[in-house]
């Protein structure tokens, strides 16, 4: 085998390959990159494929956290033990593309592409996920909200790659809602990921497709936290039953957004839909 498509077999080899070939494009699942290559909008000079780096392919439990290798696919997030440890991530994974897409696309790719519509990003935001990065200078960890800096922009420097994502395992309900024009093969118009931490007494709401980067609805979170009956939450749900509180939570969620009009929707609809999704999420978490 020859040619500038490099297939490293270990993380060290991958880092070395990126260092030796600074112009190389990083290839994970290919579901974003190949669309651009097929359309002629991206012509790679060289490619470093991460598909055969074993360190990136699996996940592990680490105390109160799970560490997901960057090349974990959506199909792998949808099923099994991981799905029960991080339910919102599983729900988000299931909404992505089609079975074919979910078999190929990866969580590291979702981060690397950093699309405003990246389906796992609101979940990672709600969980305060930490992105682990490896580069020529070593390793570093960056909170996901700092990792994504703009539309399809990240803090990744040349020669760096995402190796893993670190998430807490929390006790409490988690919900993921996504609005699109149909059930399968749809790019989101609005996403909301709600995570309730019954031990830490926090409510976290991550929103997607409503700003250049994933956002947290901090005001809505603080409002909800003040209205959850934490002592009465013994059944494992977050008890918010007052309809006026649910309504206000939705309104506050919408104020955290900065949506735009584009070919998929309008800013006004996105604001409306965020409020609806936030309300439904907290209702589901309460019931």
């Amino acid at each position: 085998m020859s040619g500038p498509v490099l297939l490293p077999r270990s993380l060290d080899e991958a880092v070395a390959a990126l260092q030796e070939t600074p112009a190389a494009t990083i290839l994970a699942g290919g579901t974003d990159l190949m669309v651009a290559v097929n359309a002629g909008t991206h012509r790679p000079e060289a490619v470093v494929s991460l598909a055969r780096v074993p360190e990136l392919r699996s996940w592990r439990r680490d105390g109160d956290e799970v560490v997901l290798g960057a090349c974990l696919t959506y199909t792998e997030m949808e099923h099994g033990e991981l799905a029960s440890l991080v339910p919102a991530l599983c729900q988000a994974a299931r909404t992505v593309g089609s079975p074919q897409i979910r078999n190929a696309a990866t969580i590291g790719g979702n981060l690397g592409t950093a699309s405003p519509a990246g389906d796992t990003l609101p979940v990672l935001a709600a969980l305060d996920a930490v992105v682990e990065i490896r580069g020529p200078a070593g390793t570093r960890s960056v909170p996901v909200l700092e990792f994504v800096t703009g539309v399809k922009e990240t803090v990744l420097a040349p020669g760096e790659l995402v190796t893993a994502v670190r998430l807490p395992v929390l006790r409490g309900p988690q919900e993921f809602l996504k609005v699109g024009t149909r059930n399968a093969m749809v790019i989101s118009v609005v996403m909301a990921a709600l995570v309730v931490d019954l031990d830490g007494h926090t409510v976290r709401l991550g929103l997607g497709s409503v700003a250049p980067v994933p956002v947290r609805a901090r005001e809505a979170e603080a409002y909800a936290e003040a209205h959850v009956d934490w002592e009465g939450a013994g059944n494992g749900r977050a008890r918010i039953v007052d309809a006026a509180v649910v309504e206000r939570f939705g309104e506050l969620a919408a104020t955290a957004t900065a949506p735009i009009d584009d070919h998929r929707s309008t800013a006004a609809y996105r604001r409306h839909a965020v409020a609806v999704c936030a309300r439904r999420a907290i209702e589901r978490a309460s019931s």
Binding site: P4, V5, L27, G29, T31, V37, N38, P99
Partner: protein, 170 residues
């Protein structure tokens, strides 16, 4: 200057050599234009339609979204290489014919590969599981009813309950 790649693939059980490929060529392009396997169809080139569905190391993927050179040394199965026993057609292909699941035919190879993959993993899918499994394969002719009926016919055949007991297509 365009960079080129040379690599080997195992396609439908046979070692195939690819030389002089542009590095950005998709697996779909390599299969169709370099290896003479036109079964996987080229339509959307963005993973939306599923008509290029193939198995890569046993996993169902859109060949248009796989960088050809990144599939080096891996095992590819296309619609041409599905197990068909001693016959010319697989049981899934035969069921598609019997049930009238083919109209223009463009989506058919992708759907055949997808249904084979599903039934390998789940011999008795529910209607919902079946619908979800083919959610990445677009058909603009049939309305899917005949395709679902064909898949259900295969399930019935393979489970031994036979053709007479399969669900009647709506």
């Amino acid at each position: 200057m365009s960079e080129t790649a040379a690599f080997r693939l195992r396609v439908n059980g046979t070692e195939r050599v690819v030389e002089g490929a542009w590095i950005g060529e998709s697996l779909l392009y390599v299969l169709r234009e370099r290896l003479g396997l036109p079964g996987a169809k080229n339509a959307c080139e963005q993973g939306e339609c599923g008509s290029c569905s193939v198995l890569l190391d046993g996993t169902l993927v859109c060949a248009c979204l796989v960088l050809g050179a990144s599939a080096a040394e891996r095992e590819v199965v296309t619609v041409e290489g599905l197990p068909n026993g001693s016959g010319e057609l697989t049981d899934v292909q035969q069921a598609f014919l019997d049930e009238g699941a083919v109209q223009c035919g463009f989506c058919t190879p992708g759907l055949i590969v997808t249904v084979h993959d599903l039934l390998e993993r789940n011999a008795a899918p529910s209607d919902l599981e079946l619908r979800e499994a083919i959610s990445g394969n677009l058909c603009r002719c049939t309305g899917y009813g005949r395709i679902l009926a064909a898949a259900q016919a295969v399930v019935a055949e393979r489970s031994g309950s036979g053709r007479s007991q399969r669900e009647t297509p709506s």
